[in-house]
Symmetry: C2
Subunit: 424 residues, 2 copies
């Protein structure tokens, strides 16, 4: 299901080929401003500094990227183009914080391209001496009384095998969005979302195994939530309003930000208001749920408080006509008055529309993927990477950060585990 977008920047070959300038500093500033409170500055810094080289490494492994740019689509494009905007870099408030650049590096397959990233890396892996155990579940770790991880118990079709871990065990089992009990404990709102972005294994078992070995966990309450209602982008000209008929965000923000704000701050209750001029059929099954010849009629259809929606639209139109959005700073080319009847409301409630959710929290790790205990001391021999860890994004998500996180810090974990095995 992965889109195959890797969030990279600082002036990669792909960015340069497409005519974009970027810097490590701008990438760092954008991420620090956008990925959520309590982020790990050391990880973000290292990631930005190593981003150009990481892109080259992916290419060296045989991951295909086409050196072309696609405008006007969030997430992976319908084409095999290589570079897209995959965050809110161009919009308020981030455009004022850091010079924007597109940083979504997309594997060269039209549509969801994660499978191609995976198969490319697997092909490369097949040329090494690594042994791969398929259809195999790790159901226990062996730990000394001093806390060090020295092995794992593996199960394959009922047969059990005990493996000595010379360098260590790396947990890379993904998040826990398929574990209802963990969601109920850490952030029940995730369960309101209609689509859980997950592979079958995203059940949190790896995270729990780490915690049982004494690992600390971080940000288990944090989610990535996408509300992809502004696709095609012309729908960014609509007005996203809440239960009170009020706007609450600049609608040109990335759909990851729209989803987060709507689910977590507006209780998953919103509608995208459009007029006849800007309306176009949205993707992903979003649907008109009310139409009216006037805003008042539309509001009545929606059951919104009398006069509230009308007041919101009037206020917006008056300023938009002057090219201004004093409340939320939506920008050109998506800033225009909505005046042409009929008016419509696209349903963006959790009940009736697509909210795509996955978890961002996980095991506490250092920049080398070493799993940390409650005192921030590494647990010897235990590593983790990807969504099984708390990584780059801890609340505010831009597409490509998970693949970036997993591959970048996974490499670092692998490198250190490998060094450790040579010391034994």
């Amino acid at each position: 299901m992965s889109g195959g977008v890797v969030y990279l920047g600082g002036g990669t070959k792909l960015q340069t080929a497409c005519g974009f300038e970027d810097s490590t500093e701008a990438m760092f500033d954008y991420l620090m401003a956008s990925v959520g409170d309590g982020s790990d500055e050391a990880k973000i810094k290292l990631y930005c500094e190593g981003s150009v080289a990481h892109y080259d490494w992916l290419v060296d492994q045989g991951v295909p990227f086409k050196e072309t740019y696609y405008y006007g689509y969030s997430g992976e494009p319908p084409t095999d183009d290589g570079l897209v905007w995959s965050g809110s870099e161009q919009v308020y408030p981030y455009c004022d914080v850091a010079t924007p650049a597109p940083r979504g590096h997309v594997v060269a397959v039209p549509g969801p391209a994660g499978h191609k990233l995976m198969s490319s890396l697997c092909e490369k892996l097949a040329t090494t001496q690594a042994e791969i155990a398929l259809n195999t579940v790790c159901d226990a770790l062996y730990q000394t009384t001093d806390g060090a991880i020295i092995g794992a118990r593996l199960r394959t079709f009922g047969e059990t095998r005990n493996v000595r871990a010379l360098g260590g065990v790396i947990i890379a089992t993904g998040g826990f969005v398929l574990n209802d009990e963990m969601l109920e404990t850490y952030n029940p709102k995730a369960k309101d979302c209609s689509m859980r972005v997950a592979a079958d294994g995203d059940d949190g078992s790896g995270i729990q195994m780490g915690m049982q070995a004494g690992a600390d966990s971080l940000h288990l309450d944090k989610l990535s939530v996408s509300l992809p209602v502004t696709q095609p982008w012309s729908l960014k000209s609509g007005l996203l309003v809440n239960d009170q008929g009020q706007r609450f965000i600049n609608e040109d923000a990335y759909y990851g930000r729209l989803g987060e704000q709507t689910l977590l701050h507006q209780n998953g209750r919103a509608w995208l208001i459009v007029d006849d001029e800007i309306y176009t059929k949205p993707e992903y099954g979003f649907e008109l749920c009310a139409v009216g010849e006037t805003p008042i009629e539309l509001a009545r259809e929606l059951g919104l408080p009398e006069g509230a929606l009308e007041s919101t639209i009037d206020f917006f139109n008056e300023h938009a006509a002057r090219g201004e959005d004093p409340l939320f700073h939506k920008r050109e080319p998506f800033l225009m008055p909505l005046t042409k009847a009929p008016f419509g409301a696209i349903d963006c409630t959790t009940q009736n529309s697509r909210y795509a959710v996955f978890t961002l929290g996980g095991l506490a790790t250092d920049v080398d993927g070493q799993v940390l205990d409650a005192k921030s001391r590494p647990i010897p021999g235990l590593f983790a990477a990807g969504r099984a860890t708390s990584g780059l994004a801890v609340g505010g998500y831009s597409s490509g950060l998970s693949l970036g996180d997993g591959t970048f810090f996974g490499r670092r974990a692998g490198r250190l585990a490998s060094e450790r095995s040579r010391q034994v």
Copy 2:
């Protein structure tokens, strides 16, 4: 610093003496609706069922409560009256969920009364055989390789003592709002608050000690945040607006709810708009930061987007004149149009006003205070109670829940630990 309010209900002697009817069900329904997502239903159920008896127990221990009711004050009253409203029971949306009753049981001392609750219980304790070690820090737990806690290391003025724990160790060290590093990790917004409600020991060391012994933690990101701007209550007639000049809550909500919404959903940016009719000097150092003859002038002073505040006030006034608040359902007697110039804005930004914060998350425990590991199995011999645990409130706070939590579940932990010691 504790106010000495205990949240109890279901028809306590004090409620009955003051002429209020209450039921276990109404108390349960209110708490389930208000204490936040991911709450522990089993704890809440037991707490409501045991609430009447718990009040009697407190009285039996010599904790004084005066059987009188005080109206019009949030938190502990200025008098020694015994019963107050200490939550949002009477206001939207909770008034529609459960029959309201005041449940703040306040120890009979004017003003902050927590010290009297503590001294009463300490006096009772002094009549038992319990040995009390003052000026003593527990800096380590002794744990068998099987995980059981069998003792503790204590330090008193440089001298170290090792204590065998027959029944167990009960961690009751409070929250972690004085630990900047933990706040940075779990919810940095707490650091924006001007007042941390804490005793010196609320540094999270007890929680960390538990986690190092393999305990799971829950809801470490959750806070109680009070914004006590609507004291005296006549200020509830004001309009709380955000950076966009929009209202975002019914202003008659409890100050714990105002604080939570403003800090966590409005980024700690708000002003309480008043007119000359309702203005009265607020308590707790809140101050007018702008005055204007018209809403437009006031908004200009505040630097709010042009026209937004005016539109908010017009909309509110039009409906309030008819006794309606279609947006947020503020209720009589605090619902009236603001029309009498001059208009003023009371500063409710985190920078310039009082936000009183403490942490709600902590060690995972069962209903008997047993500390749980990541697999929800009790760690033998390890107990916890109070704000060192994740207790009744995990996001939405009513005053008195912490003292209630600590005393109610502390008693249960003590009882089980004591039984365990007799089995040894």
